[in-house]
Structure formats: structure tokens, C-alpha cells
Symmetry: C2
Amino acid sequence: MVGGSVPVYDEIVLSTALMNNILTFDSVSGILTCQAGCVLENLSLYLDDRDYIMPLDLGAKGSCHIGGNVATNAGGLRLLRYGSLRGTVLGLEVVLADGRVLDCLATLRKDNTGYDLKQLFIGSEGTLGVITAVSILCPRKPKSINVVFLGCETFEQLLKTFQLCRGMLGEILSAFEFLDSECMRLLNTHLKLSNPISDCPFYIVIETLHKFLEEAMTSSLVTDGTVATEDTKLKYRWNRVTEALTHDGFTYKYDVSLPVEEIYQLVTDMRQHLGRRAKSVVGYGHVGDGNLHLNITSPARDHALLSAIEPFVYEWTSRHHGSISAEHGLGLKKRNYIYYSKPRQTVALMGNIKTMLDPRGILNPYKTLPDDLK
Amino acid sequence: MVGGSVPVYDEIVLSTALMNNILTFDSVSGILTCQAGCVLENLSLYLDDRDYIMPLDLGAKGSCHIGGNVATNAGGLRLLRYGSLRGTVLGLEVVLADGRVLDCLATLRKDNTGYDLKQLFIGSEGTLGVITAVSILCPRKPKSINVVFLGCETFEQLLKTFQLCRGMLGEILSAFEFLDSECMRLLNTHLKLSNPISDCPFYIVIETLHKFLEEAMTSSLVTDGTVATEDTKLKYRWNRVTEALTHDGFTYKYDVSLPVEEIYQLVTDMRQHLGRRAKSVVGYGHVGDGNLHLNITSPARDHALLSAIEPFVYEWTSRHHGSISAEHGLGLKKRNYIYYSKPRQTVALMGNIKTMLDPRGILNPYKTLPDDLK
């Protein structure tokens, strides 16, 4: 969605793949410092041996670089528990547009000395500077993890389960993800992944340190449920929805965040709005973060369908005070929709910051900021 | 230490005390939106009734305003568990130097739409804009909390206890604070607070969701320990060190962060360096964050003592790659020491941002940035 490394016209694409060294790791504090080209999964494996984990986990972990994760402020599966990269990234080294190296590579959890400049570069998609090294705070590997898979009749019950879960588990709830029956159908059809429980309109994946299942099952909120015997299998299912979608046809992908009560209403409204024009309209996401992945497939690229989806989806999100780019950034395709989520004056200030740091506009020039600021 | 509301020459001090309304609270997501003048303790009480807590807790909670907490990026006692305000503050409303109101008052956990401008204002001590409203993500109230008070023979054993604790408790450790025997002596002398365990060189306060004490006591690391019967009493002790210090004499206060292995070495070195010139040299702090509060008392204000302390303390911190302002900001007194923690070029860029947002220099004019940038 971000298309961060996709050239549009005349840009030079810079690879940091050879900058893949781990610089330091402190096993007391859990602070890792590494070069920007380290692959997320390699960092995870390195930490696993040392009883730590990375504070973020993504479907793309086998190929994505930590520098890119930071540049796009990647969210992913562990955000509910460990928070965003804005809290876990402690330091950055950044090369500015004029070639100067900005050294903000601190490894301190607390540091209130002047302005926290590294925040400017987190999530700026390479438009303000090139991240070359990262220091990040890593959590200890949890002692035991329970993954629970539940089914609900309505989205309202799913939300009530979320509240129950937060109330009971609070501190030890690390993920609460959902998928709808359309997602499950695609997983069955295209990837031959069978449903581990009985058919339901909604499914929940919960990750916790607690044996939660028995208690959830006795509530009237949940229709059916199971606990992972091998962790990976249940989690894997959620992760593979994207893959199933690519088999279903051309996919229009939207990544929005909304007040959590309203996230599924967008799927329902879109389904009704599009009717038979779409092949599948599916929703899955991170309930804990109010983050919905709305995906619409069609047999092939379809301009009529696209104009039925947009700007409908942006208007809907804006009307419900949501963000049109939740865990993915604006990139190329969504840059001109920025005004659906941000006031004009805020965007103008973003333009000033861009001009201050990159006066000649050489860094990722066609991304993030709208054309009318150019 | 920050002296945020202390006028230096000719400034107008702005009070937000009447802007004390809670605007919204969402009990599903735990997102609170309120005006900047709300007192932290009032927000805590409001949330307590709703089974939530504020993600920050400070000694000054009875009087400090949430807007000021955000403007100074306050750390405090819950940072280890809930992370910094950079992650928990979801939105801000800010009045800029030219009177425009910048609306970044989002209530979304995930929002990657353009640059995250609110980060500029967190911790900028009112020098870039005036925060008028805040939205913040609040954690659920934990079901049960155990507060444990332990004693150690050496700081090395204290650090080993921290590692043990993080390894065993991981997810459910919410605070790990320490104080030295000098702090305990001051608490005894000035506040008549007795030591709840046998005398030791170092004391630890642990807050966890787990019954940790039995296991810690069987390790050889810990000399003595007790569990809080009434939570507040043990925690209270740690909180009151500042108060005990004021009874001890004029206090020179330093708030630094360092790699956690080295935080106590600064106290030892300072004690040796000052010898009899100081009345007391004490250290206490948040081990989980590498944050040391170093305090030096003397019967009265003493210029000779001050010049023995500074720049020694800053040079020591700089040599050990620490920050001279950990949870408190630079404010007035420390603005010219910024170069001990930040490279020149980084500070120059901070100056550019200040000029961009406040070209006439009317916001908190004598704070944070060093004189040579003026």
C-alpha cells in the first residue's frame, strides 16, 4: 500500500540490503542497535536465542527491513501489547537531503533533551531523510503464550468479548484480531485452510498469557472456540488472509482506523453499496487498535468498481472521524486524499517541515504530501 | 527542574487551570480526551470509577496539569509498563505562536496519515506551541497489584535482581524502582518513616501482578524483603524521598539517564569527588528506564559546591553516553548544557524548527534551546 520503494518517474531507488549488521545488543535493558537493512525476521531470530523478541511482528517479516519498518511506522500484530514504534524506537541515524548525517542514535529509554527529532522521521516514508541505523527497545520473550480462536454471531458480541477480555486480562492480553466469514471462506477456497471451529459470522484470534478459553466459552458471547495446540497454526490463518485475497482476483486494499465500535459498519455499508459489482468484500483487523483492513476483490482491474469504492470509502472514514491510513502510510496512491483525515493547516505545516529538511525535493519526491503542496 | 512556568524576565505566564473539562471518554477503547488544565489526580479519580487508570503517575499528581505533563513529556512511575507519552498520547490541540489552532486531536491508536506533528509538541516545553487539549490512551485497571520491598548488598545484585525479575515476570512487571541507604536515612531522619526491612545498602520497590517475593527471597541476590499489606505505604516511601531532601538542606537535583549498568556508578563517583563538601549525596531512580535521580544537599546554597558538581556531572554523563535530562526537560537552567547530550547539528535543526513555528520567539522564550542559537 505504501509503495515506498516503487519509483514513479525518475527516482533513484536506494537499497540498504547490505547494511545488515547488528551493531550492539544489551541483554540487561533489551536495547538493540542495528543498521537499517537488517531483515525483521533475522532480528527476531537473533533475539530469540537471547530470550527477547522484537516489539513488532508483520506478515512481511521475512523480507522487510527494519529501516523501512521505521520509515513507514509499521504497526502489525504486537502493537496492542508493546505500543507503536514511536515508543519503542529509541534512536535513529538519518542521512538528510544535503548528505549530512544526523546522529540521534540514542539508546536511552528516557531522554528529554531538546526536541525529539527522530519522531519526525518515524513514519515519514523517506520523504524527510534516509534512515541508516535504528536502536529499538525489545521486550523479553513471554514465558507462555496461549492462542485462542473464537467464533461470534455478531460484531457487537465480538466487541463485548473484547471488553470482557480487556477487563479480565488487562495487562496480559497481547493481541485481539478479528476476521469475518468472508475471510474464512477465502482461506478455505484458495488456501485449503479448514475452519478449526464451527461456522460463524465472525472469528477472533486472542493472544494472552492466561488460560482464557474456559471462561470465554461459558459466557453467552462466544459461539465456539479452540486453543492452539501448535501456536503457529492458528495465528498463521489470520496472517494468510492477504495471500488468499490475491488468489481471489484483483484486490482493492484499504487500511483505515476508526472508533472501534464502528470498524465493521464500514464493511457492511460497503458491501451494500457495491452489491454485485464486487466479487468479495471482506474485513479483518486489529480490534485493539481500531484498525480495519477492508479488501474488495474483482475478477480483474475494474475502473467502474474503483470509482464506486472511492471516494465513498474516504468520505465514510472522514465522516466517522477515522484515519484513511492507519498502519500503512499515504505513499503515492493516497497522498491526495490526505485532506480526508487532516485539516488543511496541519498539512500546510507538514509541507513547511518537508521544505525545511529537503528544500530541493530530492527525497521520495512523489509520496506522502499532496500535489497541491508541490 | 523544568521551571516551565517560572518567568525569567518579561514573559507572560499563561494558566490553563480553568480549562479543566473532560471532553469525552470511551470505555471500550479507554481513550480519554480532556482540556489541558485537568489535574492529573482528578483524571485518575475519574478513571478509577470506570475501571481504568492513567498511563502516567507522578509525585506531583495532585497539582500538575495534563497539558504540562505532555509539554514536558513527563515520565514517572508507570513508564516501564505503559511506555512514554509519545506512545500513549493519541492527539493534541495546540495554539501556535501566531494564534492559529492546530487540530491534531485524533483519538485513533493507528494513524499514519502524513507526518505525526503532535510529536513536535510533546516534550517541547511550550516553546513551539501551547497545548490546549489532549487525547490519551488509558490502560485498564490491573486486577491485583503486588508491591514488594527488597534489600540488596550491592548495586550489581540489584541489577541481577532486575534481570531475574524481567526474566520471570516479563509482561507483568510494572515498576522496578530503587533507592540507596542514604535515601532511607533521610526518610528516617526527616520524615520518621521507618525502614520496613533490615538495613541494606540498596532497596528495591517492585510492582507486579505476580506473587514474586517467595521466589526472590530464595535467590542469593536479596538480603531481606517484605510485601505491602496496604499498597500505598511502601510506594509512598519512594515517592517521599524528594520531600525528605528538602528537609536536609539546599538540594542540587540532577535527572539523568544512562545505560542501566552504570547508573549507580555516577553516585559513587560523585560522592568520592565531593568528599566532605556535600552534606548528602543520594541516588534513587527507575531501574527499568535507566533513569537516575542524583541529589546533593548542602546546609545552604553553596557556589563552591555547585562548581564542584558542574560540569563534572554533565561530563561524566556525556562520557557514558547518557542524557543530562531524562524525564525532566532542559528548561531554563540546563539549556546551555544541551551539547553534552546532543550533537551540534541536531541542536541546529531544533533551532530551525523553533524558528519555523515561532519566528518572533514569543513562546517560552528563554527555555530549552541554548543561548548561542538565539
